[in-house]
Every structure is written in structure tokens, then in C-alpha cells.
Symmetry: C2
């Protein structure tokens, strides 16, 4: 059973109220850093794994991509994506990314934003992505940071007055399922180490071209709670070239 909380009505409603859902890329704290890792999209065939509302698909299309295929497990997500997308080079397809199949060298660029931590078998996914990319093709993804996923609940540790003391790391080397609380709902996510995230790329013929733990941008530091995001890494961005 692949994780799909986004077709749960309450969860989807909560998600739709997040800044990144209302404002798109500009509402996502990591966007300015992620954008810098993205390749030139002109004339490229692009695959977006876990495309959600399709923000990154539209960005690729607006920046010259020849074709963009967005895949997502959630029908609700894709309905919203379709409504926000003009007819053109973008196609959406409802499928768990784990079940996708393509001929070798089908794509120039594979992107995935905050979706791979829902995938149980990351190494198998990377092997597939490597085969789908042409030589010299580019894989850029963001995931929740291993520091953020290791313990499970993904919450700060507070003192008795309810003030944040620090962020807890635990069970770091025990990879696998975590029962996380996200938007007030229980969601299954998968914790894996940084070693696993990067070594699976190196072992599958990728060269690593960028590793970034994005800090909250200056412009967002006045948003409540955002300054605390300077105290822990929450996301990990990686770019790699298929050799």
C-alpha cells in the first residue's frame, strides 16, 4: 500500500491552506535554492515525480521544456493541477511513482519535490530514474532532511513552559517507516540517512553536482516560527548528472 494521504479530504484541505499551496513556488521557503539547482529546460523532456499541484511542471514549461510529464498518486492533487494548467506541453498522470515504467533514456530531466520520503524503496527508485534519464541528464530532488525524519514525530522538544529547547534526533541509523504528524494528521514517511540518499546516486552512475540544506530566506524570517528554522535543517536538496 503506497502512502496517499492527499486523497483524504481533511488532509487535503489542510494542505491546500499551506503557504506553498496558496502561493506556489514563491510561497515555498526552499524555492530560491531549488531553482538554482535546476538545469536549463529549453527543449528538454521533463519528468516530475510527485508533482502535486504541478507548480514545477508549469515552471519547466514556462522555461522552454518541450514536454513535461507530471506523475502523482493523488487524484485530488492532479485535479487541482489540471485546473491550474493551460493546454500545452504538460501532461499529468495519476500513478504511484514506484509503479511508473518508461523506456531507457526517455527524459533529459527528472525532478521530484518533497515526495521521495514517501517512497519505501529509494534505491530501487534511483535505479529506475537512472535508466529513464539519458546520459548527461539531470536529476534534481528535495526531500525532508534525515535530521528532520529520524525520530519520527517531527516536532521540537519543548521545556515545561512550552518553549522550544532543541530539535531531537534519534534512531538515525534505523531506516524505515516513521509515524509523522503533518498538518495535524498522522502520515507515514520513510527515514533514511544522508549516506543512503547520496551513495545510492553514486552507485547508480550519477555525479553529484549540488547538495544544499536550504535556510529560510531573509524575506520569510518574519513569518511566525520561521526564525526557529535556523536551528534545524528541515530539507535536503540534491542535484546530480547521470554519467
Amino acid at each position: 500500500m503506497k502512502e496517499n494521504r492527499y486523497d483524504d479530504e481533511d488532509f487535503f484541505l489542510a494542505y491546500s491552506r499551506m503557504l506553498r499551496s496558496e502561493q506556489g513556488l514563491e510561497g515555498a521557503g526552499e524555492w530560491s535554492e531549488l531553482k538554482r539547482l535546476l538545469p536549463d529546460f529549453h527543449g528538454k523532456h521533463v519528468l516530475d515525480l510527485g508533482c502535486g499541484y504541478g507548480w514545477h511542471c508549469r515552471y519547466a514549461a514556462e522555461n522552454g521544456a518541450e514536454s513535461v510529464l507530471g506523475i502523482d498518486i493523488s487524484e485530488r492533487m492532479l485535479e487541482k493541477a489540471e485546473r491550474m494548467t493551460e493546454k500545452g506541453v504538460i501532461e499529468y498522470r495519476c500513478s504511484p511513482m514506484e509503479d511508473a515504467e518508461f523506456p531507457p533514456s526517455s527524459f533529459d530531466v527528472v525532478i521530484s519535490s518533497l515526495a521521495l520520503h514517501y517512497v519505501g524503496d529509494y534505491r530501487k527508485m534511483v535505479l529506475k530514474i537512472s535508466s529513464w534519464l539519458r546520459k548527461g541528464g539531470c536529476f534534481v530532488f528535495s526531500v525532508e532532511h534525515p535530521v528532520f525524519t529520524s525520530q519520527g514525530p517531527q516536532d521540537w522538544f519543548y521545556d515545561e513552559d512550552g518553549r522550544i529547547m532543541h530539535f531531537p534526533v534519534d534512531n538515525y541509523y534505523y531506516e524505515g517507516k516513521r509515524d509523522a504528524v503533518f498538518l495535524g494528521h498522522h502520515v507515514v514517511k520513510y527515514h533514511r540517512t544522508l549516506t543512503t540518499y547520496l551513495s545510492a546516486l553514486l552507485e547508480n552512475g550519477f555525479s553529484i553536482t549540488g547538495v544544499v540544506e536550504p535556510q529560510p530566506p531573509q524575506s520569510m524570517l518574519s513569518i511566525p516560527g520561521m526564525k526557529d528554522e535556523m536551528r534545524r535543517p528541515m530539507m535536503l536538496l540534491v542535484s546530480a548528472i547521470r554519467g
Copy 2:
């Protein structure tokens, strides 16, 4: 003032009683993983930055290195290293690694074991190392993991009965000096993010070939406290090739 607690008598005595000091490489939990990142030493000119007792220098020499230069800030460390080393291809030199100067392309291999977190300006150090290495040369290092260095004290968080609850992460994006407690002494170490450790390599023409957060080996899990090391990453090992 460069950090040199190893010439403090009490501190040096405490260090000399660590398993890694008494048993050498085999007493170091990360050695089996670090060894796998090391290149073939045959005929190579090797530089070891922060060589301490010289264990890695001797390993390089025993495995065919043509010359090995070990640099360390501590005279006590080097005295011990000299006593443990037979005359041959190894030379030791007392100097802070930050002050070292070599002509371009002087070395085939640069190694550094658990020393770079004492260096204030890591980016400047990487720029130097890049120039000292010939094209295709190899840089392999271990440092304390950013998770381990971020908060400062480097201790677990305990419940009121003195049991470990988790490991605290804090101030992650605020790089710089930390007042750590190591072997019962206060030691200045420098925290930097994983982003900094890796991006400085990429920006200075290195290809990353390995990133490993070593787990305690099975054979050491019976050592008191070692099983808890499965709960947090304590070290980061990186190998890279100069392009």
C-alpha cells in the same frame, strides 16, 4: 590562535587512554568505513593533515606510499608518532595545518582524520588542498558530523532518571565556534553545515566520490555506550577527486 588542546598535559593523557589511541586504527569505530574510501597508495605522495599519532601515515607507508608527510599542531602528538614510526618514507612536521604551504600539485593524496572541525576557515583550507593536489588526486577526510557539532556541548539529552532521551540539534545554520566538552575538557570546535562541507568541494573543482556516516561496527556494539551510537550520526567521511 589555533586550537591545540593536545599539548595540554591532562588532555593529552585523557586522549592517550582512548581506544583509538591505545589500539590505533582497529580501535577506531569508523576505520572499516574510512579504509574503503582510501585510494591505492602505491607510489603515491601523501599528505596527512592533523596526523596525530601517525596511524594513517603508517598505514599509507605500509601500503606502498612513496612519501608521506604528516602535519600536526601538537608536539606531544608528534613525539608519540615519531616513537611509533620506523625510519623510512614518513616525515612529521609540527605546524597548524592552516599555515602549511606547498607548491601546486605536490601530492597525489591528502587525508585528514577528525581534524578539520578544529579549523576555523574550512573553505580556505579546501582551496589550499585543491591546489596542493595534482589533477586526479584524492582527498579523503573525516570530521565530526554537523548533527554532532551543531548545538555545542556534544552530549545526549537525558530524562530525570539519567536515561538518554535523544540527541539535541540546535543552531544548525549558525556556523562557527562551539564550546565542546571532550574527554572532560572544554575544547573549541567549529560547527559547519553539511552544505558547507560538500559545496566547498564542488566549488573548488572536486568530484565527490563518497559520503559516509559510519555506523558502529557489529564487532564494537558490546562496548558500553556504543549501541547508542546507532541513534545519532557522530562522524562524516568524505572522499573526493580533484578534477
